[in-house]
Amino acid sequence: MTTAQRDFATVVRAVEPEARRLIASYPEGNARSALLPILHAFQNVEGWVSPEAMAQTGEWVGEPLSVVESTASFYTLFHRRPVGRYMLHPCRNLSCVMNGAGEIMTHFREQLGVGHLQTTGDGLFSYEEAECLAACDRAPCMQVNLEFVYDLTKEKVDAMLQAMRDGTYEVAPLPQNAKPGPDWQISQDVRGKSPGARGVSDPNDPGGMGDATGVSMIERLGREPRPFEERPSRERLVADGSARIAAPATNSEH
């Protein structure tokens, strides 16, 4: 699969009729309501929400680019940078974690060689661990380009990734008209922001224990369910090197 040549004028022509229809579906004078749906329409065509797409959306709904971008940045499903052909969203919430999602996430990270919110070097896969997808009866579950995949096992994941690489997977790949980078987050100036707002913890080193990919922790947590008493104690984790105890936390850290 090659990256198609990007021609934004063609993109606009493809989206415009849908955008006009969307704006007309809201009560008159409320074009801004169509902001999210129009961004969806652009993302359906381009695979991401480009700055040009946001500017064009702003023109149609009568809002400046800053308003469109501020709004788009609130929603996790809009990608303001190019992403891979397959957006993989395994669920990391309660019912899935209780049914082996930890093992599935570990497997994804190992097979893909990337962590949370990252894209593989070949631009084929983007990986994001998602919150509850409302399919807890079929846990562990995931979405691939927003199509549900249920009752995940490692074997199912392997077969899925292979089919995607072979171009035979049942879910259509996302359009891609620009080469994705290693991640699709937009770095912002966080100076002066509070810890919660800038997100101190690294999603790929959640415990802050120097576990660069997050794999060792998730793997340790994601083994087959078994009684709590049989789990390795902290002392053993330290002894066998699976956990590295950092300098003791002090109150000044909080």
Partner: protein, 418 residues
């Protein structure tokens, strides 16, 4: 076993996504009857008498919610909340994909009852399939003359707009949903004014859950007494319960309210072989845990509230004796930290630091004092935010720390090494 089929009637036997199949089973008859035979106050009265309480989480009486709309001659809006994302809940996902016409008929009846000529449905961004199915159902209903102007030869007309969200749990909160529907960031609004007075585009608005609206055709068909007679007096009717966790047959089960939790467990196939249930989260990620001694409680709004938790969205998660409650707590705390909209400092900062602390504990770097801190921080960020998201952290976290303290203690050091 008290599994009933009211909203779930026909699911699995027939393709109810097809309007002809739905109509052959009496579909849209109540919609026609409402517009051609019933006065609006009569429908509000029927729903009030039925005792129907909101199925989205708060459990507010639906008829009373409708009665708050002011008579100011302004346009009114009906908004169906299909932003289902409460951890453990998957009933609206099923209704949207399996019985879209039932959801639409409920929306139409609700809109007519409150005197609205424009209804909206806000569908969670992740429900792409559900969105497509609902769009098709809406087209079919429009072609069949159930949506549009001068319906059934009357002067009444209604438009329906389908709006897709884009990935934000907070948009399930009704004022955040309205902001998102207006094309803004999904940040909850300061209340009052409540949506009934100033909602979508500043006009009187009712926001109802998918299941609440989908219940209306059955209540009109069978009468309010039929619904009110089921279950406990102040918490009547049938409810779809999403059962998941450590059970053999997780799934959506429709039962009368008041069904004992133990019976729900049996319906869902019971615990896994050789295991026993040690905890139950009865109302979605925001509810406090109950424990094995509570298994005989009836599952209804009031009984849950009297026992310090809530029925919420009807998501029941059973935990067996293999559960690591530190991990379970992390899954939920991480969720609330991730989904905080960031407006209110206690929720934005508190959730984040609780996540960091739990990660540290699980990674083996935690201290004894971290456990007390989990409890005190989650308590301190409660009740001081614009919306209930921040308040949702404490119930589960505090209840499992209290009950399974030994598990938390086993991860931490008791003293800082010299």
């Amino acid at each position: 076993m008290p599994v009933v089929k009211v909203l779930t009637e026909g699911i699995g036997d027939a393709d109810l996504r097809d309007i002809e199949v739905y109509r052959a089973r009496g579909g849209y008859e109540q919609w026609k009857r409402a517009v051609t035979e019933l006065e609006r106050p009569a429908i509000v009265d029927i729903v009030s008498k039925s005792g129907l309480r909101g199925r989205g989480g708060a459990g507010f009486p639906t008829g009373r919610k409708w009665s708050f709309l002011p008579n100011n001659g302004r346009p009114r809006y009906m908004v169906c909340n299909s932003d289902e994302a409460e951890p453990g809940t998957f009933k609206d996902h099923m209704l949207l994909e399996e019985v879209p016409h039932l959801v639409l008929e409920g929306m139409l009846i609700g809109s007519y009852a409150i005197g609205s000529n424009h209804a909206f449905i806000y569908i969670r961004g992740e429900f792409l399939r559900g969105y497509e199915i609902f769009m098709k159902a809406l087209d079919e209903a429009r072609a069949a003359g159930f949506v549009g102007q001068k319906l059934f030869g009357t002067e009444y007309g209604i438009e329906v707009t389908v709006h897709r969200g884009a990935g934000a749990y907070i948009c399930g909160e009704e004022t955040a949903l309205l902001n998102s529907l207006e094309g803004r960031r999904g940040e909850p609004r300061l209340k009052p004014p409540f949506p009934a007075v100033k909602g979508l585009y500043g006009e009187p608005t009712v926001v109802n859950n998918v299941e609440t609206l989908a219940t209306l055709p059955a209540i009109l068909r069978n009468g309010p007494e039929w619904f009110a007679a089921v279950g406990p007096p102040r918490s009547p009717g049938y409810k779809i319960v999403s059962v998941s966790g450590h059970v053999n047959k997780p799934g959506n089960y429709e039962v009368p309210l008041g069904t004992p939790l133990r019976e729900l467990l049996e319906i869902a196939g019971g615990p896994r072989a050789g295991r026993k249930i040690v905890a139950i989260q009865p109302g979605g990620g925001s509810s406090a845990c109950l424990f094995e001694e509570h298994l005989d409680l009836g599952y209804d709004f009031d009984t849950m509230a009297q026992n310090g938790t809530m029925l919420g969205s009807g998501a029941v998660v059973f935990f067996d004796d293999t559960t690591n409650f530190v991990e379970a707590a992390l899954a939920l705390v991480r969720f609330y930290a991730h989904e905080s909209c960031g407006q209110c400092t206690p929720c934005r900062e508190g959730g984040h630091w609780l996540e960091v602390t739990l990660n540290r504990i699980l990674s083996g770097g935690g201290l004894d004092s971290d456990i007390d801190m989990l409890v005190s921080v989650s308590h301190q960020l409660t009740g001081i935010n614009l919306c209930p998201l921040g308040d949702s952290i404490e119930p589960f976290l505090a209840s499992v720390v209290k009950r399974f303290e030994a598990q938390f203690r086993s991860y931490v050091r008791t003293a800082v090494p010299a």
